[in-house]
């Protein structure tokens, strides 16, 4: 017999409300007060969320957000800065870490969780797939990013689903590795993400999207979802927790360690064309936070540059490690770029990393 999970749809809420509910539901699941749960969430007004350990100052264009009524808040989960408008759908799973069938090893768990959403997207006619470490993509373009956390023995795994997306507002609201770039390169950046409306040519009604995801999650996890609401315990805890998530102490982060988010841009000319590299670096942590690579070379397969960016994200920025990462990538992905070799890519990255050391 399949296990019953609760299906919770909390509708459109302000950022602090949604963040408080994440905490409340995870606490309740950890204390065994509520069943395993799938939650849908949406945001109104639109907002920017930073990851649990991130610095608002380094990740968010605060003035732009203030001028455009974009709320700012902090997730309890990991990962990077995100822009949420009213049209995006959030999905979340809450369960104990020792749930039968759910891998304990994080990489395996990410794959299973993402594949349950991939199965849901397939019901809508979207051929999506899991992209390590924990994204969902359609033909190399990201449609859902994910992240998670744990309290006691319970975990929360959550993701976004881009349905109809305002890329320009996202670019303006977040500190991304594309500031200072020309319009053509910004257009290329926009090709890194996609949304349901673009993939399908129309936007299905939200209820249809939610039903499809629920079906996919149920099938892959082998569960039955039963629609239900918040319990009285959760409602009471929510009232108690909300002020914390509305406070500047939470939003700014009381214990955020010193970090960096330096934008470094470089170009390297090769026989196959120009390579332009734009990196966000945190040199304290020896980390490439994000990478954006364009140029007038021709890469086969075409998506390989987007895959390389995904591999470089959050990887070490120590030169020997970068060379190793790029070499391994070219071998495992069978990349062919006429007139451009591994060392050229390494050199372009090195030029960007070397600036200001």
């Amino acid at each position: 017999m399949q296990e019953n999970w609760r299906l919770l749809d909390t509708g459109c809420l302000p950022a602090a409300h949604n963040m408080a509910l994440d905490q409340v539901i995870l606490n309740a699941r950890s204390a065994n007060l509520v069943p395993n749960t799938v939650r849908y969430l949406q945001f109104a007004p639109h907002c920017v969320l930073v990851g649990y350990h991130q610095s608002v100052e380094l990740e968010v264009e605060e003035e732009y957000c203030r001028e455009h009524g974009i709320e700012i808040n902090r997730r309890i989960t990991g990962g990077g800065n995100l822009y949420w408008d009213e049209s995006q759908l959030g999905w979340e799973l809450y369960a104990p870490k020792n749930t039968p069938g759910i891998p304990r090893r994080l990489d395996d768990m990410y794959r299973l969780m993402c594949e349950s959403v991939v199965a849901g997207l397939e019901k809508l006619g979207v051929k999506a797939k899991f992209r390590p470490t924990n994204d969902i993509e359609v033909e190399g373009r990201k449609i859902s990013g994910t992240g998670g956390t744990e309290i006691g023995d319970a975990f929360l795994y959550q993701g976004t689903l881009l349905t109809d997306f305002d890329v320009d507002t996202m670019i303006n609201a977040l500190k991304l590795p594309i500031k200072k770039l020309e319009d053509k390169q910004v257009d290329s950046f926009k090709q890194r993400v996609t949304c349901l409306k673009e993939v399908l040519g129309y936007l299905p009604p939200m209820e249809q999207i939610k039903a499809a995801l629920a079906e996919g999650i149920s099938e892959v996890l082998g569960i039955t979802l039963e629609p239900s609401g918040l319990t009285e315990v959760e409602k009471k805890a929510f009232k108690q927790e909300l002020p914390k998530f509305q406070s500047e102490d939470w939003i700014r982060g009381l214990r955020i360690m010193p970090q960096e988010n330096d934008l470094k841009v470089a170009e390297h000319k090769t026989p196959g064309g120009l390579i332009r590299v734009s990196l966000r670096l945190d040199r304290n942590r020896q980390c490439i936070k994000s990478a954006f690579i364009t140029g007038d070379f021709f890469a086969y397969p075409e998506r390989s540059i987007m895959d390389l960016e995904a591999v470089l994200k959050n990887s070490s920025c120590m030169p020997a490690d970068v060379l190793n990462t790029v070499r391994q990538f070219f071998i495992t992905h069978e990349v062919n770029i006429p007139g451009v070799d591994v060392e050229d890519f390494y050199h372009a990255l090195y030029l960007a990393m070397d600036k200001g050391w």
Partner: protein, 140 residues
């Protein structure tokens, strides 16, 4: 001692949250094991509690982030934080690179040294790690 490819030094104690504990009288140094750091992956952020804070065994005393996952650091023993490793907070990759050396996290003054009896010796931890690896392989 080794379990598969993971180092498990014999002079340390261990718990099931993948912490190693080096006990010296009523003080202990604490960090994440080789198996723990490998399971966690590249560590991007660490948030450690400050010196002067006290914790009970099993309390959350910090957080760790890798691959967009925020995990808890759980106190392996009760006590007072005498010192934390600021260097590893600034550059958490040191836990991946040198889990038993530069990757140490806390120095604790133990409030209940008897709790050490609840920890595992290297051999016992090695068996526990082997079990975990087997169950991961079964789930696939």
């Amino acid at each position: 001692m080794q379990c598969k490819k993971y180092d498990i030094p014999e002079n340390l104690y261990y718990d099931t949250n993948d912490f190693w504990i080096k006990v010296n009288g009523d003080e202990a140094v604490v960090g994440m094991t080789d198996y723990g750091q490998s399971n966690t992956g590249d560590i991007l952020y660490l948030e450690l509690s400050s010196g002067g804070e006290t914790f009970k065994q099993g309390d959350r005393f910090g957080s760790i982030e890798s691959g967009k996952w925020v995990g808890n650091l759980t106190a392996p023993l009760s006590g007072l934080v005498i010192d934390n490793n600021n260097e590893v907070e600034r550059n958490p990759r040191k836990v991946n690179a040198d889990a038993y050396g530069e990757g140490w996290m806390y120095r604790l003054k133990l409030s209940n040294p008897d709790e050490v009896k609840s920890l595992m010796a290297a051999k016992e931890y090695s068996e526990w790690v082997a079990q975990q690896i087997n169950s991961e392989e079964e789930i696939g």
